[in-house]
Symmetry: C2
Subunit: 194 residues, 2 copies
Amino acid sequence: MDISVVLFEGFTPLDFTGPVEALQRIPEYSVRYFSLCGGPVGNGKGLAIETLPLAGAKPGILLVPGGFGTRRLVNDGAFISALRKAAEESACCLTVCTGSALLAKTGLPGGMRAAPDKRAFDRAVPVNPNVRWQRRARWVSDGKFYSSSGVSAGIDMALGFIRDRSGEEKAREIADSMEYVRNSNPDNDPFALD
Amino acid sequence: MDISVVLFEGFTPLDFTGPVEALQRIPEYSVRYFSLCGGPVGNGKGLAIETLPLAGAKPGILLVPGGFGTRRLVNDGAFISALRKAAEESACCLTVCTGSALLAKTGLPGGMRAAPDKRAFDRAVPVNPNVRWQRRARWVSDGKFYSSSGVSAGIDMALGFIRDRSGEEKAREIADSMEYVRNSNPDNDPFALD
C-alpha cells in the first residue's frame, strides 16, 4: 500500500511525521512525498523537503497535513483540482488539522465529518458548510475519509486507522514501539473549546 | 536563540519534528537543519530534507534525533568529531532516542545521564559506559544536556526544557496549542522494560 503525503509551502511537519511514524511501522506500507509541481517545499521555518509531482501519486493512502499555508491554498484552483483527483482515486484519505479545510474545498466529501484545529475552526467551516464539522472530536472517520483535530491528534487518528484495518493488537504494538501515550477514543477530545 | 537540528542518513523524523514543533512556538527560537557535509539527507523511507554543513551551526540549542542510521554513525569518526565540536559550543544539547548514543560517543558528557530508546538500550550503553544510562525515565537532564527516551518522549522532553527556561505556564500553553496530552513528569515512564 502506497502512502502519499501531500505537501505545500507552509505545512506543519508534525501533522504528517506523527501519522507516518505510526503507519510506516506496518511493513507493507511505503511512503512518498508530493507537492503540486514537485521539487523542494518549505514549511516557512527552515525545513525544506524534496517532493514529486502530485500527478504521479499512486492510489492508496492519501495524507494531507495542515499548516499556515492552507490559508492561501484553499483559494488555489490548480492545487485544489489536483488534490480532488488524488483524493477521488485514493483508497483512503487522511487529513490532519487544517488539511481538512483543503479536502473540504474540493467539494468531494459532501457529507463528510471533519474535526480541524480548534484555533482554525471558524476559518475552516465556511470553506464548505456541507461538511458536518465537529467541534469536539479527537478525530472522526466517515467511510474512506479520516480527519483529525490539531497537530498531535493526527497520531491518534493514524493509530485508530491502523486499528480499523489491522486490529487493536497491531495499533497497541505500534504505539508502544513509538513510546506514545495513546488516546484510543476518537470522542475523547481534551482540547475541545466550549 | 538558534536551534540547530543535526540530521544524517537514516534519521527518525518524529524524533525532531515533535520537539521542534514545541520549541518553535517560542518566537525568539529559529530553526535550521544541518548534516556533516550539507545537502539533501534521507531517512531511508522516502523523506529527504535539505541541510547546511554542520560546521556552520551557531551556538544555541543543538537537537540530535535518533534513527537506524545511528548504528553506523557511532563509528564514523568525522561525524562524531564534528558533533563533539557543535555540542561543546552549544548552550544546550537535546538528544532523542538513539541520538543519545551519538552524543555519548563524543565522550563529551562524561557523567551525563541518558535515557535512550528502550529497544536500543543494550546497544547504546557500551558506546560510553561512563554515561549514567537510565533504563526508566521519560527524559533526564544534567546541566546543559537533556536526553529523552524513544521517539514521542522527545516532545515531553522539549516541553520540560521549555518549562525549565520559560516557565510552566508557557509549557502548558504550547502543549495545548499542539493539542498534545503531555507527560510533565520526567520520571513517569510508561514504557520502561523491567
